[in-house]
Amino acid sequence: MKWDRYILPLALILVWEGLSLIRVIPSHLLPSPINILLGLRDLMVIGMPPGYLLPYHVLHSLYRVALGFAFAALLGIPLGLLMGGSPRLRRIVNPVIEVIRPIPPLAWIPIAILWFGIGMKSAAFIIFLGAFFPILLNTVSGVVSINPIYFEAARTLNAKPKHIFFKVLLPGATPSIFVGMRIGVGIGWMTLVAAEFTGVKSGYGLGYMIMTARDIQRPDEILAGMLLIGLIGVLINGVLRAYESRIVRWQ
């Protein structure tokens, strides 16, 4: 019964195309699915701005997100494990985190430009902010939710702290860490357009491409870019999920 998941998207596209055809939906506000496909072709062949082709926009965006996400994971996971293991450290660090966490990454843009200038570092910083907190908080909750009996059992068996960390704490928190990484990379990918608002030196990036398509007044290419961001998000999530199910089962 897997086919039923395609019913709604297909029906939506058909109705959308139909309403566009009879001009109920004005094409300058919402181009039809066929026009969006033609826009996608223009993005591949002509590029936006002309000469800057779509595959390179995708690659540059993926690289920015990978960079921001890598920093978020490298910082968030160890800090989360430490905080999960020490209620005292949690008490000390939490007030700071609770204040910074609700600030939208978008609000950081002027500061990001001031600290890191225009370009890759600013964009990666904005993505880092989006990805960091879900990773940190999920890691902490992963450690906290481990049944205390396991720690006590390990201690009764005279296990060294090193062994407790690698044999109890880390495996116990792993499923939750993965959830955090999936949410983190998802939010990181969502902040991409905002991150590329900080300015792009290379002239490439999906968010930058969408802004340029707006400048040149091509709504078909704007929507093609948006749908592509959505599809790549689905793909990233799928890859991480597949990896996660292998690791977690193996544990």
Partner: protein, 321 residues
């Protein structure tokens, strides 16, 4: 599920279809202009001196925009009746069928400049090859002028790293060497000079003498529904443009008030701008030709587009009187 999806689509299409006809005739005219753009001084003068009211129309500033393409998106959304905007973004938006609008009067010619750092060794445009240059947006007049200047001097625009920055950020970026040059409308080139950050490498006068820059446009819908009001705004614009020529000191004061910049900067900026309401068909042809070559627009019949896009009748009537 099917009913729900159907309802969603119906509601979305109703929402997207925009406001229903039958809007009240007495509504103030919604106008837009660009933030801190001294080219559009006539609009500020007309507001400040009450020229719109004197001609019997009430206007409301419905939007102050950071760059022309944003203002044209507001036209596409039906949020503006008339506006002061660059000829390049207006041409792009109408040629790409995003907005339906017509040019009724010129606002200024010239008035932009390429600025490099104060200590830059660049002697002419050829020295920009391989450098990083900021523009206010794609399909702006400045994007157009930069590429025209590069082409004129035999530099391949692809060999220059062009990035998009909003004009207020350009001077800071130049100061911290994040960019090697920028092109912007006045008073930003003047501001870079009075701040001691940059010097002018090339004025737009040197790139393309007497090039048309900002225009006064009206949405086609407004023009067909309220032609008399559109005419009144053009008349106020002509009076304001004459006012700038006749009372430059008062114009400077208004420019200082609206841009928030200092008087020496505004005085320096005004030297670079020519205020005129006279339209140029030849100039629009040049825009259409170059924008097509840059692949921003594709037109079946460029000449028919130019004829329809530039309406000289209203302005001609007003000048005759």
């Amino acid at each position: 599920m099917k009913i729900a999806s159907f309802l969603t689509v119906v509601m979305a299409s109703l929402f997207l279809a925009g406001p229903s006809p039958g809007d009240c005739q007495q509504k103030p005219i919604r106008i837009g202009y660009l933030q801190s753009d001294i080219h559009q001084l006539a609009c500020l003068v007309a507001l400040e001196k009450g020229f719109y009211r004197k001609n019997g129309v009430e206007v409301e500033v419905a939007g102050v925009f950071k760059a022309g393409p944003e203002e044209m998106s507001a036209f596409a959304a039906g949020a503006l009746d008339m506006g002061y905007v660059g000829e390049a973004p207006a041409t792009t938006a109408v040629a790409n069928k995003a907005a339906e609008a017509t040019v009724l009067a010129q606002v200024n010619t010239e008035g932009s400049a390429i600025v490099v750092g104060k200590d830059s060794h660049a002697k002419d445009v050829r020295d920009l090859a391989g450098k990083r240059v900021a523009i206010p947006g794609y399909s702006t007049v400045q994007d157009f002028l930069l590429k025209k200047a590069l082409t004129k001097f035999g530099v391949d625009p692809k060999g220059v790293n062009i990035i998009v920055l909003k004009p207020p950020e350009m001077i800071g970026a130049l100061k911290t060497s994040q960019i090697d040059a920028f092109i912007a409308w006045e008073p930003y080139p003047a501001k870079a000079q009075t701040m001691g950050v940059g010097r002018v490498l090339l004025t737009s006068h040197e790139i393309w003498e007497n090039h048309p820059c900002c225009v006064l446009v009206a949405s086609d819908r407004f023009l067909s529904e309220r032609p008399r009001d559109a005419r009144a705004v053009v008349r106020a614009h002509v009076e304001a443009t004459d006012f700038i020529r006749d009372f430059p000191d008062e114009a400077v004061r208004i420019g200082v008030k609206y841009t928030g910049m200092d008087e020496p900067t505004i005085r320096l900026a005004l030297k670079n701008v020519v205020y005129t309401y006279v339209l140029s068909i030849e100039g629009e042809r040049e825009y259409v030709d170059f924008l097509s070559r840059m692949k921003y627009i594709q037109l079946m019949d460029p000449e028919a587009f130019v004829r329809k896009f530039i309406n000289q009748e209203i302005l001609g009537d007003i000048i005759k009187k």
